[in-house]
């Protein structure tokens, strides 16, 4: 065996072990999500499939309102994903393709909000949104999140790297900035858009502390808080059902992730894209 082959073999073994370690917690959850209470409480633990799969998933979906919570999460994540991308793109357009007084100041003004995660001002934001009367509304979960420094920054950097001749050509053709954005920049920004969409979807889907404090009625509650409710009641928890809930709650972001991870890698992090 050559040295290269031997090293490759070690790499394969190492990678398989690591992939397995990464996979184990979810496999465990998957197995437990099919077990009855008695099977879950069995000692030593049973690791295979149980006999209550359909029942557990049904209970999580219906009785613990996960269907409703997931719907809410999808709606708010969808709204924010679309509008934040549009708003960020427009801001990037304004910052790159125009000259106006205070341009740099405005850019730093936007960039500075990178240091203001929701958690930091949650007390005051709670008071503000309550005063606006949005406490039981999708508005509370979407409007404050429609703009972001990350988005503006990403698009500004990306637009700046697009050759200026394209804009010249567009102007000669008589196209205005909006048409230029739509017919030139958007098609050239697929990776950035994909990366933004993915990050925003996951960010919104994972929102926890804010909906926990601001949302009054369960009809508007989101999936992460729904999971918290499943484990945090004044009663015995059925862990099989909770695991079913965890599996359900991880599916939508996983699907989006699988579809977009290439754009994410290319659009977000890295220069020298081919």
């Amino acid at each position: 065996m050559t040295r290269k082959k031997r090293n490759d073999l070690f790499a394969h073994i190492g990678l398989i072990i690591i992939c397995f370690i990464v996979l184990v917690p979810v496999l465990f959850a998957l197995s437990k999500s099919t077990q009855t209470r008695a099977q879950v409480f069995h000692y030593p633990p049973i690791l295979g499939p149980g006999t209550a799969m359909i029942q557990n998933y049904r209970t999580a979906w219906n009785e613990f309102n996960l269907s409703l919570y997931m719907q809410n999460s999808l709606i708010i994540a969808g709204i924010v994903m679309v509008f934040k991308t549009i708003f960020s793109m427009l801001a990037g357009l304004g910052l790159v393709y125009f000259d106006f007084p205070l341009k740099n100041g405005i850019f730093y003004f936007i960039l500075f909000t990178l240091m203001m995660p929701t958690e930091i001002m949650i007390i005051a934001l709670f008071n503000l949104v309550s005063d606006l009367g949005w406490g039981n509304n999708y508005a509370a979960l979407t409007i404050p999140f429609l703009a972001s420094a990350t988005g503006v920054f990403l698009f500004r950097q990306h637009f700046a790297s697009i050759p200026g001749e394209l804009a010249d050509a567009a102007r000669v053709d008589g196209a205005g900035p909006v048409r230029f954005l739509w017919s030139v920049l958007v098609p050239m920004s697929r990776n950035t858009i994909g990366a933004m969409a993915l990050i925003q979807f996951i960010y919104m889907w994972n929102m926890y502390i804010w909906p926990l404090v601001i949302i009054r009625e369960n009809v508007r509650q989101v999936v992460q808080v729904g999971l918290r409710q499943m484990t945090n009641v004044q009663d015995t928890t059925n862990w099989g059902v909770v695991m079913a809930g965890a599996i359900l709650a991880m599916l939508p972001p996983l699907i989006i992730f699988v579809l977009l991870h290439e754009q994410f890698t290319k659009g977000f992090a890295l220069g020298q894209e081919k």
Binding site: I54, Q55, A197, E217, R228, N232, D235, T236, I256
Partner: protein, 474 residues
């Protein structure tokens, strides 16, 4: 192609949305997988509840919000009861929601009130009573409901004792419980102990545990959640008050008593049980599930937990194939058994609602806690009947003879002596004080402090919490 992918993502988001809404409106036939009787019942209940939940709010109906802290089977039961109410009371629609734990429910109600949009009816745990009074967002129920529709004399004395504050009921007693001992008779037999003679005192507990653990009948001897509630109950059982000014009953409590002899006796025993490997808990504070799991899985022979778990434990015993026994909360032999405090929660009415909503909310609260519903609630959960009239009906039915597990729970309450200690403490900052007590126990068990050190530190912290709180409401 990247653009196709993005399109795919957007399409799949909407497809998921469609799936979600389709499924939530889909058919819900009971599965054939429910091989256990108990589970089949629950599945059937789900179907009924769902149908109720899918019903649109009738046009023009007065909508009443009711928040509670229950999950699982109890949540289903509550939803069924509410569905019954809605069905028989056209023109009113009670919207029922679960808000997490007791603490979560209280917090959610206060945050909603802060937003100017409080739910009408809220379940609040017993130690939140003073805080609820101070918050000013509730109205004393006895001021609103008078006359024949409200019978304050129908509540059993122990319950009335706890919930009558400043001479009147401020809320309607609903789910009341106290701690009892559950034990696994099969493990007792295996260890050579008499399955009909569970330990009664702290001392008997220690020797029974030695037998159980050394015989290898179970890995641990006993479990109960690391929860301040048990400490409070043991204090009361020994006749010790938790706070000054008559346990906060004569005037607002300004000091707590956490470093007295009673507290030390409890913690010393707790620590000994833990160090010898007899006592096991999940490691998490207030983790009822953790203690249940240790007992139900047969890793411990006994569990101390709420009477309200009678039904749950009976189901668990049936599922896991062991024989269940129940007995009183153990106490130190050095003191006489004084009895227990009424635990659980009551339902409160918030203020600032239009008159029609107020009337409807009031009517619902009275209906929800009437004799018939008190019996239904007791039978389905194990929470004891809070009304004398309910007890009378149950006795006519010979219910307690037929169901001895329920009896131990109820007798323990009836035998309780009426003292300031068993009446239960009223402390505004009680939720915080309870956490401080729990952390003191944690410290002692972890060996980070001696019993005396931990208790005197807790005493200091709790007094500060109480005084800070009092400053903010005066």
């Amino acid at each position: 192609m990247p653009s196709k992918r993005i399109l795919l993502v957007i399409v799949s988001v909407f497809a998921l949305l469609g799936l979600v809404s389709a499924c939530s409106g889909g058919s819900t036939e009971p599965t054939s997988g429910g091989e256990k009787v108990v589970e089949t019942v629950i599945v059937k209940e789900t179907v009924i509840v769902e149908k109720a939940a899918e019903e649109q709010i009738p046009e023009g109906a007065t909508v009443i919000d009711f928040w509670h802290a229950f999950g699982g089977g109890r949540k289903l039961l509550i939803e069924r009861m509410v569905a019954d109410y809605n069905y028989t009371h056209p023109g009113v629609y009670v919207r029922v929601e679960n808000k997490g734990s007791y603490r979560d429910t209280l917090n959610a109600a206060i945050l909603a009130a802060q937003q100017g949009n409080a739910p009408h009816v809220v379940q609040i745990f017993e130690i939140g009573s003073q805080l609820a009074l101070d918050s000013g967002i509730f109205m004393p129920i006895e001021d609103v409901v008078q006359g024949p529709e409200f019978q304050p004399d129908d509540y059993i004395p122990a319950v009335a004792n706890y919930y009558k504050i400043n001479g009147k009921f401020n809320s309607l007693p609903w789910n009341s419980s106290n701690p009892i001992l559950y034990y696994n008779k099969d493990i007792f037999r295996k260890a050579g102990l008499d399955p009909e003679k569970p330990p009664q005192t702290f001392e008997e507990m220690l020797s029974a545990c030695e037998t159980i653990v050394s015989s290898g009948a179970a890995k641990n001897c006993i479990s109960w959640p690391l929860h301040g509630w048990f400490f409070e109950q043991w204090m009361a059982n020994m006749g010790a008050e938790l706070a000054n000014n008559g346990n906060g009953r004569d005037a607002r409590a300004t000091e707590v008593y956490l470093d007295g002899d009673a507290a030390k006796t409890i913690l010393n025993w707790w620590k000994e049980m833990y160090d010898k490997g007899y006592y096991a808990y999940s490691g998490k504070l207030e983790d009822w599930d953790g203690a249940d799991a240790i007992f139900v899985s047969g890793q411990a022979a006994m569990e101390i937990t709420s009477t309200s778990d009678v039904v749950n434990r009976q189901n668990d015993a049936a599922e896991n194939g062991f024989e269940l026994g129940t007995s009183y909360l153990p106490y130190p032999a050095s003191s006489e058994r004084q009895g227990v405090i009424v635990g659980g929660a009551s339902i409160w009415l918030t203020k600032d609602h239009p008159d029609n909503e107020l009337q409807a909310a009031k009517d619902f609260m009275i209906w929800f806690t009437n004799t018939e519903n008190a019996i239904r609630w007791h039978k389905a959960t194990g929470y004891f009947p809070v009304r004398k009239s309910a007890v009378d009906v149950l006795e006519v039915e010979n219910w307690f003879e037929l169901n001895p597990a329920y009896k131990a729970a109820f007798d323990q309450l009836l035998e309780t002596k009426e003292t300031k200690a068993t009446q239960g403490a009223l402390i505004g900052a009680f939720p915080e004080v309870r956490t401080i007590i729990e952390q003191a126990v944690e410290k002692v068990l972890a060996g980070e402090a001696t019993v005396d050190e931990a208790l005197s530190a807790a005493q200091k912290d709790a007094n500060k919490a109480v005084q800070d709180y009092n400053k903010s409401v005066e």
